[in-house]
């Protein structure tokens, strides 16, 4: 606050701002980021939260002025950032189109010409002449989007906002953006969804904590970004799976859980399709029938292999200590990444837990040159690796016979 006030005073007195140095408690939201875009380029901004992507976008939009360096833009800048800006709930959709359009920089004549296209895109039907406060949230967003997207600026800034509306609408939006790209609009897209950026953009920038980590072609930057993510993956623990929490009636107890390779050695990383074993000891107290249960969870908390269980009825030793129970999974279909194992013992029907240990064990499946970890590739490969084979039989036939 105080800095702001001082800044305003200095601005008024027209003193050159001492902005190249930081004051106490300040930090560079965007630090020494330089790049050049030509007309028609499509740039993706990737990076973790708080990297400075939105700040950079605000600078491109002219809302924030850089404290050091300069920014040059040629052409009208439009942003799909604040959808429905200027909308007044008491006014009708028709009136609000003109208001929103005016705020985005479109004149009345321009809106008149594009009016029908906007209305058709928004698909709100007869609600065009009812006050906007009666719109559903979806209609509200569709109308705002329709106006913004018809702004047809030379530079289009998109900030993570394509995730609204139903699928039909989303595809309409992406189609419209592609059309704008074809016409030569420069697009800057900010998203966490790396696959989306890969699809739309040709160039990318990776930001982290305000620093420019990498700038270049989309493939290079995503490769570097993914490598870094991989590294972090191996180093961090997931917060989705609760740390070693044990629950249950206590009539059984799982101990010394180990993740092992085929030789029986305790290992913590594997190659894809390698064989893996889970081994543990357990003790029972007055349990005559029970079920051993293991499940494997990935870093996002998603069960990739559930209910690997074995039911033991007619246990002759209800009070017993079992040296070893081992579950072996040959040809592991798990995708590269970190996994956690939950182990438990329940009654034979699986309704009551005698003992259940979350995060009993953990292991990593490494990336190889053929099978690399990346969220984009997960879409490509699917959630698990499948080991099937192709068999193609070719018989002679005449092309004309088949295609009639």
């Amino acid at each position: 606050m105080w800095y702001g006030f001082r800044d305003i005073l200095r601005d008024t007195a027209s003193l050159r701002p001492k902005t190249d140095r930081l004051r106490r408690k300040e930090f560079w939201a965007v630090d020494d980021v330089s790049f050049e875009l030509r007309k028609g380029d499509r740039l993706g901004l990737i990076g973790p939260n708080g990297a400075g992507k939105t700040t950079l976008l605000k600078m491109l939009n002219g809302i924030i002025i850089p404290d050091k360096g300069d920014l040059r833009i040629k052409g009208r800048v439009g942003a799909l950032i604040q959808i429905g800006a200027g909308f007044h709930p008491q006014l009708t959709g028709r009136e609000n189109i003109y208001i929103n359009g005016a705020i985005l920089g479109m004149g009345k004549r321009e809106i008149d010409k594009k009016f029908d296209a906007i209305v058709e895109f928004a698909d709100i039907g007869d609600f065009l002449d009812t006050p906007v406060k009666y719109y559903s949230s979806g209609m509200f967003v569709r109308l705002g989007f329709a106006v913004a997207i018809h702004c047809e600026p030379e530079v289009l800034l998109v900030d993570e906002v394509l995730a609204v509306g139903d699928l039909n609408f989303q595809s309409k939006c992406i189609e419209q953006i592609s059309r704008l790209c074809e016409k030569g609009t420069t697009v800057v897209l900010v998203s966490h969804d790396v696959s989306k950026i890969e699809r739309v953009c040709g160039k990318a920038i990776w930001l982290d904590n305000g620093h420019l980590m990498k700038v270049g072609s989309i493939k290079d930057v995503i490769h570097s970004y993914m490598q870094d993510q991989n590294q972090k993956l191996y180093n961090t623990e997931s917060s989705f799976v609760i740390e070693g929490v044990r629950k249950g009636s206590g009539r059984a107890r799982v101990e010394n859980f180990e993740v092992q390779n085929t030789k029986g050695e305790k290992v913590d990383s594997f190659l894809p399709r390698e064989s893996i074993s889970f081994s543990f000891e357990y003790s029972l107290k007055d349990v005559s029938a029970y079920r051993l249960w293991i499940c494997v969870v990935n870093q996002a908390g998603l069960k990739v292999a559930g209910d690997l269980s074995e039911t033991i009825k007619n246990n002759r030793y209800p009070n017993n200590f079992v040296d070893r129970a081992k579950y072996t999974l040959r040809d592991m279909p798990f995708f590269p990444g970190r996994y956690y194992v939950i182990a438990g013992i329940s009654d034979e029907k699986g309704l009551v837990w005698h003992d259940r240990v979350a995060k009993a064990g953990t292991f990593i499946v490494k990336s190889t040159s053929k099978i690399k970890y990346s969220p984009a590739m997960a879409n490509f490969y699917g959630s698990v690796l499948i080991n099937g084979s192709w068999d193609i039989t070719q018989t002679e036939f005449r092309l004309q016979d088949r295609i009639k």
Binding site: R16, I64, R72, Q90
Partner: protein, 289 residues
């Protein structure tokens, strides 16, 4: 979608943002500010229409509310004067018309100030996300005050006709006299709107303060001639305008030309300084909001 880009592209010039681009006292700074404002004139009009149509949309009496406060005050004080409860001096035209004329000018200032003060806070959502000239918000808000003023002029015409008051020909100068007042109001509005963004009390207490201030202005009573009350005519920046309006309407000459001159000059200066401060402050505020 066949639209001609060339037709709509006004911004093919390169825009450069540097840390000190917007500073300075030179001519180019004012030229840039003015150009930005002129380019936004259509937005201003739209915002003005929006606020106006939305304000009375779901009310029964609609635009009558624009003149209601003035009417109520006139009736109240006419009665108070007539019944001798309030000792008010003699005026050179029927009291109701006198008050109405004074009040209209006062409200141009007061309503203008209250509306402009609220304008930024009301639009806080879009200010930080979209790039447009923020002055338009303040000016569009003042437009409402002008609209109310025009409606009151109609009312004044009716009242004049009723009392058979014929205004002097000098009444045509009144709009020119009011221009500096408008500028002064907008100037104060620029500053107050920013201050209100930081200290919300200002917006809340403004109505109260203005009511109080109205009693310190020769709206309900003729300009005092005795010291120390005569100071009201000089220290209160709105007084000269009210006095001048009434003079031009009834007397044909100005009774306080020096006061009017200083107040007009002040109006221009306040407007220019406030506009500059507003423009500079906006870029800083946007960073911190």
């Amino acid at each position: 979608m066949e639209t001609s880009r060339a037709e709509y592209t006004k911004h093919t010039k390169e825009v450069v943002y540097t840390p000190d681009a917007h500073l300075g006292f030179g001519w180019h700074v004012w030229r840039d500010m003015a150009r930005e404002l002129i380019q936004s004139r259509e937005l201003m009009w739209r915002l003005f229409l929006r606020d106006l149509s939305a304000r009375y949309r779901q009310s029964v009496f609609g635009y009558v509310w624009a003149v209601m406060p003035a009417i109520v005050t006139v009736i109240t004080f006419t009665y108070l004067k007539g019944s001798g409860t309030l000792p008010i001096g003699e005026t050179n035209m029927p009291y109701p018309a006198y008050v109405l004329l004074g009040m209209s000018v006062w409200l141009l200032f007061a309503t203008g100030l209250t509306r402009t003060t609220q304008s930024l806070v009301q639009a806080s959502a879009i200010i930080t996300k979209i790039n447009f000239a923020r002055e338009t918000l303040v000016l569009a808000a003042f437009g409402e005050s002008i609209f109310n003023f025009l409606i009151r002029i109609v009312l004044i015409g009716v009242v004049f006709a009723w009392y058979r008051v014929v205004p002097m020909w000098t009444i045509i100068f009144v709009p020119f006299v009011l221009i500096p007042l408008a500028l002064m109001t907008v100037g104060f509005g620029f500053i107050m709107s920013i201050a209100n963004g930081v200290f919300r009390d200002i917006g809340n207490s403004l109505t109260l303060l203005l009511t109080f201030a109205m009693f310190l202005t020769p709206v309900l009573y003729p300009p005092p001639t005795q010291w120390p009350k005569v100071l009201i005519n000089y220290l209160n920046p709105v007084s000269p305008f009210i006095i001048a309006t009434r003079d031009l309407t009834t007397k044909g000459t100005l009774s306080q030309p020096d006061g009017l001159f200083y107040a007009s000059a002040a109006g221009f200066v306040v407007f220019l300084v406030a506009w500059r401060i507003f423009h500079l402050a906006m870029s800083r505020i946007v960073e911190r909001v």
